[in-house]
Symmetry: none
Subunit: 165 residues, 4 copies
């Protein structure tokens, strides 16, 4: 299904498209290997248009990552898994259904570089909160989510990645 080449979208809609389409591409290839040209092509727009919605590629990626982490945490909270086994099952579902886990992994991969460090740390904290319901084993729960994110980023849960058409 090719993204339609409709022009002149309302700003917010275009932004949403960019976050969604860019999210998938960043998830698959990572930050460095994803070019602004790739994203523009996938969105059916010209490269400069990206810069009307984000001030830089880094800021763009951070926006994508923050939204992905947000969605992910909400779903974790909503599901409220009782134990590690339930959490792992949930994460398997997540990795297959959407790119969020992989995006988180890509963010963590960049987490050592200054512009991403803070966002990566925030993400880790947010994950920690989201699985706080697993109080007793919280660190293990958090570690499990992060590990799943990183493995999804590495494509090792890719066998069932339905979102990466």
């Amino acid at each position: 299904m090719v993204t339609q080449r409709r022009r002149r979208l309302p700003a917010e809609e275009r932004r949403r498209q960019l976050v969604e389409v860019g999210g998938r591409i960043f998830a698959i290839h990572g930050f460095s290997r994803t070019g602004t040209a790739d994203i523009a092509r996938a969105c059916g727009i010209a490269e400069p248009t990206i810069y009307r919605h984000f001030t830089s590629k880094e800021e763009y990626f951070l926006a994508v990552a923050r939204e992905a982490v947000g969605r992910l945490c909400e779903r974790l909270k909503a599901a409220a898994p009782r134990d590690i086994e339930a959490l792992q099952a949930l994460l398997g579902e997540e990795a297959a259904q959407g790119p969020e886990l992989a995006i988180l992994g890509r963010l963590l991969h960049e987490g050592r570089e200054p512009p991403f460090r803070e966002a990566a740390e925030d993400a880790v904290k947010a994950i920690g909160d989201a699985v706080a319901s697993l109080r007793k084993m919280a660190p293990l729960g958090e570690a499990t989510v992060l590990a799943a994110a990183l493995r999804a980023a590495a494509g090792m849960l890719a066998g069932e990645e339905k979102w990466a058409a």
Copy 2:
């Protein structure tokens, strides 16, 4: 401790230096963010010298990664942890003592791209073999190692990274 600027090393020694110094830098910054110029500078040599030992940056990184995975697997086998807790303790030690785990993580991160895919798959297999002693929970053991590698790459086991001066 800055790498000394001694010139005219025998080929094998220079190669060893390149693998070691390059390994650290790749571990810290990942493949894409590491420039051949960075490595050359860190080794006290000129860029073209790298190409007298490796035919391309990719081949260089793969050599670094393969050697790191090899060392890592040997240590895993030697330690032969009895259970997951022991394995996790061991991996914490590993992450602190050397860049191998982080290098593995960087390799897995690139694992989707053709030139790295095979090496990444080989690494996963080798890890699987190395922790086969944890028979009963083998998949869990393997997953734990891979996750630790990715977390090391992301710097999340970095509290005590003695190797990253």
Copy 3:
């Protein structure tokens, strides 16, 4: 007369400029000795701009060469020389008036290398057709054109090269 440093040309016009200016430079120095930087400078543009019109230096040169051969053949057909003497006079004129003959020579010089071989062979065929009006002595006619091209490339008919300012 220096190429004006007007910026922001429509794509087609810029391409035309690149083909024309690049043609002259390739004609004078040959493929290997002509750098993309030389051409960019002569056009008053930055190097990357070249790559917005051609995917590689080779493809660029081939485009230049094909257009030159095309023009040359058309002129040969239009002139329809009756005998070898007339052909030789015509070629002398050609060598003086435009770079086409020299460009053909530069192409033939590269004709052994794979990316150029086919274009070189096509050029030879096209020349053969263009002088087919000299039916009776066709091979001699073709050979004369090719030889003239090579001599023009070598600058041996350069005494009157008005195009090489």
Copy 4:
């Protein structure tokens, strides 16, 4: 037949080998596309050894070219063709039997660049003298030789190039 890897040849013998082997390679690929590494490999020696016999790649090529032109002229004189047809037959033979004609072509191709210009002019003069026996039609004779050289360089007489194994 691979050039033997005998070391420590007397200087003059090595020089002769370099001129002969290098001559063939220059003939096939031209000056720019022939690397000093290619020649060294083909001679079974290390690159720096070339510089013990020639001060630069250019000087090396010029030596090769001068010797080739010398041999060629001697053979032209010895054969003393009576008319253009005889000359052309002779040149066909030449192109098939040895690289001299092609080397001359490669030299002429570089003839515009200062370090080669003089040698190219000398070559043209020498050819002129060599075919002076064809007094009556001298210019035509000279032109024929030069054209044949260029065509040989371009590989268009290659059907029978026995020397280019």
